[in-house]
Each structure stands twice: as C-alpha cells, then as structure tokens.
C-alpha cells in the first residue's frame, strides 16, 4: 500500500550496484517507514483504550475518512494545498468529536464488548458511506492537490519518497507531543487519571465526557495524519482500513495502554513484515502482524510495556 522501495535498485546502465549493504539499507529504510505508519496509527488505538478501555475498531475507517475528506477539501480549495490540508485535518478532528458525542457517549457504562461492537458497526457504516459518496475507484489526492511525490536517494543507495519522509517526521513529532502532553499537560494528567480510575476521577470533579471526547479527537487527528500522508504517498482506495487493522497488533504487542509500547510494537511488527516479505513470501504481508500478535499473546498477553492487570480487567 505504501511506496516502499524494493531493495533491488533499478538497473542503471553500467552500474549494477546490488551490494548487500545497499539492500540491507533499503530494508532498514522500509522498516522505518512502515514502522512509522504503524506507530502513527497505533497511538490512536492506545489513546482511546488507555483513557476509556474501549477498543476503537473503527480507527482504520476513520483514518480513511480523513484521507477522503482531503479529496473533498482539495476540490473545494483548488489551488491552495496548504489550506486544503488544514481543512481536512480540522474536519477529521470534528469527526472524532462528533463520533464521541453522538455515539460512544451512549455506550459509556455498558459492557465493553458492546462498545467494541459499536465501533465495528460504525466502521462498517463509514465504509458504506464512503463508497456511496466517492465510489470504490482509486483516487490520487496528491494530483488533486497539485503536489508531487518525488523519490530521494539517501546514503548508500537507499531510496525514500518525499511524503514517506514527511510521515516519519510527523510520527516523531506526534509522539513527542503526546508524551509531553500526557506527562505534563493538565488535561493529559486528567486523561491518565480517568484511565486508571474513572469513578474517582469523576468524584474529583474531572469531567469524564470531556476527557473521553478529547481522547477521541486526538485519536482521530493522528489517524487522519496517517491516512492523509499515506494517501498522498501512494493513492487512496477504499481498502485502506486494512492497514488500520494491521496496525492494531502493533499496539497490542507493545501494550494497549502504553504509548512507548505502541512505538516499540510498531517497529517490531514492521520489521517482521518487511523481512519476511523480502526473504520468504510476499503474500505473507497481510498475515504477519497477526502472527506476531499470536506469538505475543502466547508469551506475554499484556504486551511489552502494558500494565499486567489489564488482562483481568475485562
């Protein structure tokens, strides 16, 4: 789905530099890019789970919605790509708030399984709506925006595309901001408190609905970043949610309530996927994250950095 460059460089006249270090370097670059994608998506899962114990299985679809919203704003603000991008991001934030206020708020207090199934149903609803409005054909927001996606050569012959590089940079920025916010921000602390003990948080005057809505907004925001950047990089189809689902094992491997875990998990899953695709079988691409997930569930179900009691809570 992303423009990961194949490790074997294009044949150039008189220069067949298929050195193993060149291949290894390209693989590393690919792992970093794929890992960034998974990490950016995974932090959305972690945010909502950590704060409200709900697993948002509509995250992939919401991410896709962000990308399609970019298509809409691109045609609306023709000629002003920056405005179109900003508008798409803002609309996604709004979408997250709306989803919480009109849907998920009604499910607080119900069984966790019911809340999860509600997100599944929401995902299906979004998918249908997107298909209805935009049809299933492949779209190219980059063209609509009028921006290009050139490939750059890094040291050692590895290549990376422009938007992939932007994605890596944004992932780092997002994680830095989130870490800071949760650790030092006032509302970040409230989110952590609400996640640990919602009852007590409410007793201390923390507005739970506000905290949950904030979590949903942040999650949709980061998801929109991921969706938009991936769409700019390699086009947009209605099967983008599959990547969202593949990023979920990354969150779980690291521990569903740990941001640091999401980062680690994303790199592990991306590493496994890139290496196995290259050395074993390209068809494995869709199943590798789940194999890693099964392995993790067998060995350490609560993930690398998750809190152990999560297991018995549900």
């Amino acid at each position: 789905m992303t423009r990961l460059h194949h490790p074997l460089p294009a044949e150039e006249e008189g220069d067949r530099s298929c050195s193993t270090s060149g291949i290894a370097l390209q693989l590393v670059v690919n792992i970093i890019v794929l890992g960034s994608i998974y990490a950016l998506i995974a932090c959305g899962y972690v945010l909502i789970y950590r704060v409200s114990r709900v697993l948002n299985l509509a995250h992939g679809e919401l991410m896709m919605l962000g990308a399609y919203l970019l298509l809409a704003t691109a045609s609306l603000f023709n000629g002003h790509p920056a405005i179109a991008l900003a508008a798409a991001v803002l609309l996604s934030l709004l979408a997250g708030a709306l989803v919480y206020v009109f849907l998920m708020r009604k499910m607080t207090g119900e069984m966790v399984l019911a809340a999860i199934l509600t997100t599944v149903a929401l995902g299906i609803l979004i998918r249908g709506a997107v298909l209805l409005i935009w049809s299933a054909q492949q779209q190219y927001p980059a063209q609509a925006l009028g921006v290009a996606n050139p490939s750059f050569s890094l040291f050692g012959g590895a290549r990376i595309s422009f938007w992939s590089a932007v994605l890596v940079a944004i992932t780092i920025a997002v994680y830095g901001a989130l870490f800071g916010f949760l650790r030092f921000g006032r509302w970040g602390m409230r989110m952590r408190a609400a996640g640990q003990n919602p009852l007590l948080a409410a007793q201390r005057g923390i507005n739970l609905h506000g905290v949950y809505a904030l979590a949903w907004c942040l999650s949709t925001l980061t998801g929109a970043f991921a969706g938009i950047l991936m769409a700019l990089d390699s086009g947009l189809t209605s099967s983008m949610p599959i990547i969202g689902l593949k990023a979920f094992p990354a969150a779980l491997v690291g521990g569903l309530d740990s941001l640091a875990g999401a980062l680690a998990g994303a790199l592990i899953v991306a590493g496994a996927e890139v290496l196995l695709i290259y050395y074993v079988d390209p068809l494995l691409s869709d199943v590798v994250p789940f194999l890693v997930l099964i392995a993790m569930l067998v060995v350490r179900p609560w993930g690398l950095f998750g809190t152990r009691e999560e297991l018995d809570r549900v």
Binding site: L117, I294, P301
Partner: protein, 360 residues
C-alpha cells in the same frame, strides 16, 4: 439473560418424563405443530427466490446457533467465525477436488477439521478473556484465511474451487425443494443438539463459567475442560455448516469468507438476543433477509438508477446503522422485544410488576 420463558400454571407433573419434556404445555405443542406444517408446506407455495432465501436462513442458523453456544452461553467471544466456516468449506472443496471424495466422507472430515481448529482457537481462552480472547480469535481467523489463499494460488484455483453437488444413492442433489428439506433438517438437528447440550451438565457448566469463572472453578467445574469443549463443539458445528455451504453454493472461494462475514454472525447473535437460542434463529433470519429488504426498499425510492449500482455500499452502510441502533436502543435484541411483547400480554391489564415488599 438466562431467565426462563413464562410457563403456564396448572400443569402438574407426575413423572420425570413429563418434567424434562421439551414442550410442556398444550399451547406450545399446538403452536409447534402449526409451525411445522407451515414449514413443510412452504416450499410448494414459494417462488424459487423465496426458497433460496429460506435455504440461506437455515444455513445461517447452523452457524448462528454454534456461535450463540460459544459466545452467548459460554461467554467466550469469538470473532473468527468466518475462518471456521471457511475451514469446513475448504476441507470439502479440497477433498472433493483432489480425491473426488463423496459427501459422506467430506462431511465428517469437515467436522474433524472443525474439532482440530476448535481446539487451536480455544487454547488462548485458557489464558485470556474478553477483549484479548476476541483479538486472538481474530488473529487466528486471518491465519486460516491466509492458508486458504495460499492453497488457492499454489494449486491454481485463483478463482475458486468448483464443487459438484452431493449424491444420494445415485441421485444428484440439485433440486431447490430437496435442498430446502436437507437444510431444514440440518437446522433442526443443530437446534436439538444445542437445546440438549444446554440442558445437560455441559450447558450448566458453561453458564456457570460465563458468569464467574473463579466461582465455577471453586465449585469443582473444570473451567479449562469446558472452555475447550465449548470451542470444539461450536467449531465442529460451524465447519459442518461450511461443508453444507460449499455444496449448496457449488463453489468455494476465499473471498467469500472475509471479516465482514464474522461480523455478520456476531451481529446475528446480538440482534437476535444474546443468551437465547431463539435469538440465534431470529438473528440469523433477520441478518440473512436484511440485504434483500434493503434492496426492495431501494426500489421504492424514486432515483433508483443512481443507487442501484451501489447496492453493495448501501447494504454496508445500512447494516452498520442497524447494528448500532440495536446496540444502543435494544441490547437485548429481538428476543428482548419478543419478551416485552409476551410480558405485555401476560400482565395486561397491569403495566408492570410492583416492587417486591413495597409498602404502598
């Protein structure tokens, strides 16, 4: 969730036979007889389309009942149902294609595949609960789908495996009406199996471990054994459903067994009403008929032309919407609505039961 249906008074049992009979009142027996007659007569009155619809409902019922057993009663959440159906269908397809096995080999073989897979799917449940268990079943579903896909590509069946209809004593089973009765029999047998399992020691054990595992274990119920049993029985029933599916459709392809199918089965037991076999049947009927209902509704609208090509997307959106509505407004499902109706008529002219011990 497990409340028994209201029973009539005035029926005094004088023997164990009467006590454990499935139908205990004259009304129940009469209504079942009427229903049975309707079912028997239906295929001779219905159009081929309706016949096919009924067959689909019966086929879905088998899967819905097995999932209800696992999730609604034993409380083990499973999102990998489509993978198990795929396993049964592929076993049938592979055996039929590779060694031309007749159905009386493929059917038990599918059941066997189900047993083995059920064991594998069930192993995580010994350590995990709730969300984590659901996720593990999801992961295993993808593994099964991958293996099916691998088989298709490696053996050159990239468009799917064609399965010949089964033979009974030299006769090929192709007639719509014949299939109706075969699938009806399958659904009835599944229902009877489920009903009797739930009334037996296993059923009670499952309900106990659903509510409180630690207490069940303290009462001497081997939780691990019964969890695995639930998975194994449910999966083998599901695989058999897959086998029937392969024969009925005549065609097996991995694309038919996507995550959406798993979600549809989960929707069946939720819309129907968790913890009730009647709910499984109602849910199966509802979800199976639903796309056709949407299509019919669509035809009533004026600008049909534009949306007709998008029927797939409309189905998707409508399905999601209905599921959300049920989860928010009617978590007890269709069975909940049915019970409310029953209560209304039972309690009439009163509106609700008074509080116990109220001093008013």
């Amino acid at each position: 969730m497990f409340r028994p249906a209201p029973r009539a008074s005035g029926y005094l049992h004088t023997g164990y036979g009467e006590d454990i009979a499935l139908l205990q009142t004259r009304t129940e027996r009469a209504s079942l007889a009427v229903f049975a007659i309707l079912l028997a007569v239906f295929p001779f009155l219905a159009s081929p389309f309706a016949l096919d619809l009924a067959c689909q409902v019966f086929l879905a019922s088998v899967g819905a009942l097995s999932l209800m057993l696992l999730t609604g009663y034993a409380g083990q959440i499973s999102l990998g149902h489509a993978g198990l159906i795929a396993a049964g269908a592929f076993t049938t397809g592979i055996l039929a294609r590779e060694i031309s096995a007749p159905f009386w080999i493929t059917l038990p073989a599918s059941a066997l595949t189900g047993i083995v897979l059920g064991f594998i799917f069930g192993l995580p449940s010994l350590r995990l609960r709730g969300l984590y268990l659901a996720v593990s079943t999801l992961a295993l579903h993808f593994v099964v789908i991958y293996l099916g896909g691998e088989y298709e590509t490696k053996r050159g069946f990239s468009t799917g495996i064609v399965v010949d209809p089964p033979r009974f004593a030299g006769m090929k089973l192709t007639d719509g009406r014949a299939w109706y009765f075969v699938l009806l029999a399958a659904a009835v047998v599944s229902l009877l199996i489920c009903v009797n399992l739930l009334r037996s020691r296993s059923g009670r054990a499952w309900q106990a471990l659903h509510v409180r595992e630690t207490v069940a274990e303290a009462l001497g119920i081997s939780v691990a054994r019964y969890k695995l049993l639930a998975f194994v029985i449910s999966s083998s029933m599901t695989s058999v459903a897959g086998c029937l599916f392969a024969y009925y459709r005549g065609f097996v392809s991995i694309e038919a067994f996507d995550l959406f199918l798993s979600i549809q089965y989960v929707a069946m037991i939720i819309v129907g009403g968790m913890g009730s076999l009647l709910g499984a049947l109602l849910g199966a009927a509802f979800i199976t008929v639903f796309p056709y209902l949407i299509e019919a509704l669509l035809r009533l609208l004026p600008n049909v032309q534009k949306l007709a090509g998008e029927i797939f997307a409309v189905n998707y959106a409508a399905f999601g919407l209905v599921m959300i509505l049920f989860l928010i407004f009617e978590p007890l499902g269709l069975v909940g609505i049915w019970h409310r109706l029953q209560n209304y008529f039972l309690l009439w002219p009163f509106r609700y039961k008074p509080l116990a011990g109220a001093r008013k």
